[in-house]
């Protein structure tokens, strides 16, 4: 089957930091990002509006530094909007006037479309078919990050649909390829619950867990990771051995920041893209089931 694509070469992107890190750690991360090989960098808080180590002005300043270092900067947005104040902040991000915005909720799509701005649609917006994708492309979608639970086969069926093939040169496709998968969002803060605190008195306790809190089944298997109101996969998702099956279909490969080794893995992905057989392999324990149309927790 023909697999239409708009670019020949896979590019890497650093996704937004999903955990709550101290400001110094965030700044240090982006200093490294400025000199890393990823051409695309996403910035901003996508999980909880109570995490305020950095304000929009700080993110914009980091974005300017990254842009000067030659990066394409994208401001990412809150996924679950519950309060009017969160919508006001979202409006400010959408009106930033400098950077492309990743819409992680349909509210952001609406605000960006109203302003006639192009946008990225993040993985938590439900785009499951070419008709929906085409509708969004007509309204400004320039990059689509596929929902994390979808497979190569599903993606192929979307991109070979005659509804979307004539539009394929108007948008890029990005796939979440490395890191703990964002799987669910709730009103409840599970990190606060794990410390027996109510959310309103959370004391920002998620800052104690720069990699989230691990949840194991009673027989010791890693199942989930608690990250505030977000639940992530227990295992790290890792498509480094699957890069060849992304070629010709995907444009951008998302590396989700981890507290350690993010840049080492970025290098491994760059090497995989470049066809270097000496590169690092996917370790036992990392999973890739979703890409192979299986349970996400599966290793193929």
């Amino acid at each position: 089957m023909q697999t239409p694509t708009s670019t020949d070469q896979l590019r890497t992107a650093l996704g937004p930091i999903t955990y709550f890190w101290p400001q110094a750690q965030v700044r240090q991360f982006y200093q490294q990002a400025a000199v890393c090989s990823a051409p695309v960098v996403y910035l901003g808080e996508t999980v909880c509006s109570k995490r305020r180590e950095l304000r929009l002005q700080d993110w914009l300043a980091i974005g300017q530094d990254l842009q000067q270092a030659g990066k394409e900067v994208v401001l990412s947005t809150l996924t679950l909007l519950e309060a009017p104040g969160e919508v006001r902040e979202l409006e400010q991000i959408c009106a930033n006037g400098q950077f492309l915005v990743e819409a992680n909720d349909i509210s952001a799509v609406q605000l960006l479309h109203e302003r006639g701005l192009p946008f990225v649609v993040g993985p938590a917006v439900n785009v499951y078919n070419a008709t929906t994708l085409a509708w969004l492309v007509e309204r400004g979608l320039r990059r689509w990050v596929m929902p994390v639970e979808l497979s190569r086969d599903w993606l192929l069926r979307v991109l070979t649909d005659p509804v979307i093939t004539p539009l394929r040169d108007r948008f890029e496709v990005e796939v979440f390829a490395f890191g703990h998968l964002p799987l669910a969002w709730s009103a409840r803060c599970f990190t606060a619950r794990s410390e027996d605190r109510p959310k309103d008195d959370c004391q920002l306790c998620c800052n104690k867990y720069p990699q989230g809190r691990q949840v194991r089944s009673q027989d010791g298997r890693e199942v989930f990771t608690l990250n505030g109101i977000q639940t992530q996969s227990g295992q790290r998702y890792n498509l480094v051995d699957d890069i060849d099956s992304l070629r010709g279909l995907v444009d951008v490969v998302r590396i989700s920041p981890q507290p350690e080794q993010t840049f080492d893995w970025l290098t491994a992905f760059e090497q995989a893209i470049g066809g270097n057989p000496e590169r690092r392999q996917r370790p036992v324990g990392d999973v890739n089931g979703y890409w192979h149309q299986l349970a996400g927790i599966t290793q193929v």
């Binding site: 519950e82 009017p84 439900n126 070419a130 669910a184 599970f190 298997r221 608690l226 599966t298």
Partner: protein
Amino acid sequence: MELLCPAGNLPALKAALNAGADAVYVGLKGGTNARFFAGLNLTESDLAQAATLAHRAGRRLHVALNTFCHPGQEHRWFSAVDMAARAGADVLIIADLALLDYAARAWPGVERHLSVQASATSFVAADFYQRHFGVSRVVLPRVLSMAQVSQLARHLRDQELELEVFAFGSLCIMAEGRCYLSSYLTGESPNTVGACSPAAHVRWQEDNGALESRLNGVLIDRFEPGERAGYPTLCKGRFDVSGQRYHVLEEPTSLNTLALLPKLHREGISAVKIEGRQRSPAYVEAVTRVWRQALDSLHTDPEAYAVEPAWDRVLAGLSEGHQTTLGAYHRKWS
């Protein structure tokens, strides 16, 4: 305030109408709705009969078409919309943009309600769906506090956009339409197949007198003799965090908002929804009867409304783990 009750088959629909539902929601066979369970849902001829029964009783029929169209298979969902509209559905409950767009163009005269699976939690999102697809009502995800529901209701009052809230039944603790926990463990999720923690993946196992429940091999919970064993919905299992074993995400419990009815009424919420299309006709009848009494009492004299202990008793008896909660409506739950 409309009492909207679930029906997975015609006997449940009759039970709901008989017990005083103002409207009943159903789904079609074939995976086009979020309760894709064996033996559940209506055929095309059932649907026509359901519409006749509802309309004869002066009630309304809502049809849920709230899964996301599979790629290249949009025509299956579009046909289901046509089938529902032709059968006389008053309302289509939809989440996918592709399907909303189709329904708005093909059947502009049939009301469109935004399914909870679309995860609309802000007035901007609600505005998006009203503006582009003419939805007349938004079903709110079970993630908002009562104060947040009030703020939203006040914001939308001038827009002639109705709000519907979940009132009773199984409690989804994640933002609906945005939870992939089930596919992470089983490969199947509400968004992709219309089911969470699907029964085909469930295994029960005895181990030294304890009963273990597994989902696709992953241990969800372990029950000692004498403990009440519940269905292994993965977010209601007991897991370990740093050596502590507890219900990490949520206890087995059901949502019950009888106590919130006066507030919901005051904020102009248009409908209260009872979850449970997978439940028996007897369950639907019993729950509907309680809620009918509660709403009648509320409408007679909102000031004098009080939850009768008998109502709570009936509902608790029909609830998961025999416990109920106000869920996210009550800020302390979060």
